[in-house]
């Protein structure tokens, strides 16, 4: 499913003293099957943008085209519902998403809502909970009687179990322990590749954006200020600095080594590639 924003503007509490312009005249497209990153400073409008993508927020002005469905200021519940069936979103705060009595029921809600019967929904729920490393002993607990990281994993499992065409992730690794962080990012990548789904990742973790996404969109003060290939934008330190963003660790180290005269043929994408390039360089300059 292709999603396009046309002159999208989003204003909180319009026509009140609390009016706040969160997104300003955005035009952009999310192509089918691509892995995107959305980055930007705190308060730049990332969460607002993705909530507009799945109909949780309607545009104040402009349009969202999700496949053949059009969302506008006064769209009907029926259209919003159709979009939500294709576009799954993991919220920035898992507590805003969880609501059922038990962990298992919570994760089954999505697939049941998609029309799967009870048995299939339970199979899917158990499968994804297991992929997220949630122990079966927690299935009957209330989703609110969990640790912060466990809650986030349950929230992620709930969206994956819907098997959406477009997967939106708002800070999906915040609160995960380092090993879970790596495993979860690897899981999203696998699902993206195997099922060909679109993934839209919102995060402050530039290392993940650099390692996993194909394209990035940069937001600043509610404006879409730049979009392009991840490898182009995230290696451009001047650009990042302009929008108060940090370079990924690997990029920073590669640049710091360049200043020492250690120059590689290409910019590595992860620690493994860095190690290889450095060892090659060391062998050639021994």
């Amino acid at each position: 499913m292709r999603i396009t924003f046309k002159n999208l503007t989003s204003i909180y509490h319009q026509n009140t003293p609390f009016e706040h312009l969160a997104l300003n005249d955005i035009n952009t497209t999310f192509e089918e099957g691509v892995y995107y990153g959305i980055i930007g400073h705190t308060g730049s409008g990332k969460s607002t943008m993705i909530q507009t993508l799945n109909g949780l927020l309607l545009p104040s002005r402009g349009e969202v085209h999700a496949g053949d469905i059009l969302l506008r200021r006064k769209s009907k519940q029926k259209d919003i519902h159709r979009v939500k069936k294709h576009v799954g979103m993991v919220f920035q705060f898992p507590e805003h998403q969880l609501f059922e009595e038990t962990v298992l029921k919570d994760v089954m809600f999505g697939p049941k809502n998609m029309g799967m019967d009870e048995t299939v929904a339970q199979e899917k729920a158990e499968y994804y909970l297991d992929l997220l490393n949630i122990d079966a002993s927690l299935f009957q607990s209330s989703p609110f009687d969990l640790s912060g990281g466990q809650m986030r994993k349950v929230a992620i499992a709930g969206i994956l179990a819907m098997e959406p065409e477009v997967l939106i992730l708002d800070e999906p690794t915040a609160g995960l322990d380092p090993k879970s962080h790596i495993e979860t990012m690897a899981l999203f990548k696998r699902i993206h590749q195997e099922m060909g789904i679109t993934v839209i990742l919102v995060t402050h973790d530039m290392n993940d954006v650099y390692e996993y996404t194909e394209y990035v969109k940069i937001l600043s003060g509610g404006h879409l200020v730049r979009e392009g290939r991840t490898t182009d934008l995230l290696t451009d330190e001047k650009l990042l600095e302009r929008f108060a963003l940090e370079p990924p660790d690997i990029v920073k180290l590669t640049h710091d080594l360049e200043n020492k005269g250690i120059i590689f043929d290409s910019v590595p994408r992860n620690v493994e590639q860095f190690t290889e390039l450095y060892e090659e360089w060391r062998a050639g300059n021994a």
């Binding site: 640790s147 380092p178 090993k179 402050h204 290392n207 660790d249 450095y278």
Partner: protein, 262 residues
């Protein structure tokens, strides 16, 4: 000084021990980091310290005084905590009220309250949002406000439970800088929970938890060397240490030292 002596806690009697015979000391002015896998008991531990959960086994002493039903409320005034989810702690209708709330509660005079509120909001770059409603902020803005509310209290013991997990890297560095300043003054005990091991480097003491138990503790250097405990508790060394392990001898160094030695 705070002493935890053989603390055991289950959320439901007779069931799984969220804390399993924990003994731990926090000295005045010390910066202690607590790390460990999801569900290892970190938040439970600090909730016990705050007196939010109370039917535990074992004992807690604060500045030599045993914590009990009677002194719990007065003792709590020595602590300020930033919870993992900031939504759980907002009490004010505006950002400014929220920060001022704790001060007012503690009987801080009005002039001083206004000054401290402003200072704290300035420190986290949220002064321009003073009139906003806390629940209607972005994720990172909420965390900044929650931190400001705790800072304004100038508590004896400041607890941060993954308080910066949704703040941008620049903002995180600023928060760490604030903590360093507080630490240098030497009056405040800092208890800092994180999953990012690059953030523990300024602590005097670090503790690794696993399944409700402490499986390792020591200086940051000692913790970085305890590969078995790190692995067992699903922890990963920070980026520069990972590179050091792969390409150098793996010794304890800073990022700048790494660049120099490569």
């Amino acid at each position: 000084m705070i002493g935890l002596e053989d603390i055991t806690y289950s959320y439901r009697t007779g069931e799984y021990k969220a804390l399993d015979h924990i003994s731990l000391t926090f000295r005045r002015g010390e910066w202690v980091s607590i790390i460990g896998h999801n569900g290892s008991g970190k938040s439970t531990l600090v909730k016990i310290l705050m007196g939010i959960l109370d039917d535990y086994e074992g004992s807690i002493t604060v500045d030599g005084e045993l914590l009990d039903e009677e002194n719990r409320i007065t003792m709590r005034k020595k602590f300020a905590i930033v919870f993992q989810n900031p939504d759980n702690q907002f009490v004010g209708a505006t950002v400014e009220d929220d920060v001022a709330f704790g001060l007012e509660n503690n009987g801080v005079p009005r002039d001083e309250m206004v000054r401290r509120t402003e200072e704290a909001l300035k420190a986290v770059n949220m002064l321009e949002f003073r009139d906003h409603e806390p629940s209607r902020l972005s994720g990172g803005q909420k965390q900044r406000v929650a931190i400001a509310s705790a800072l304004a209290m100038a508590p004896d013991v400041l607890i941060l439970d993954e308080a910066t997990s949704m703040i941008d890297p620049e903002g995180r560095r600023e928060v760490l800088d604030i903590l360093r300043t507080i630490h240098r003054r030497g009056k405040t005990t800092l208890i800092f929970i994180t999953h990012d091991l690059s953030e523990i480097e300024d602590s005097d003491h670090a503790v690794i938890m696993k399944d409700g138990q402490i499986i390792s503790e020591g200086t940051v250097e000692e913790i970085y060397k305890d590969t078995d405990a790190l692995l067992a508790s699903r922890l990963v060394l920070p980026f520069h240490m990972k590179i050091s392990k792969r390409l150098l001898d793996g010794s304890f160094l800073s990022y700048d030292e790494l660049v120099e030695r490569l």
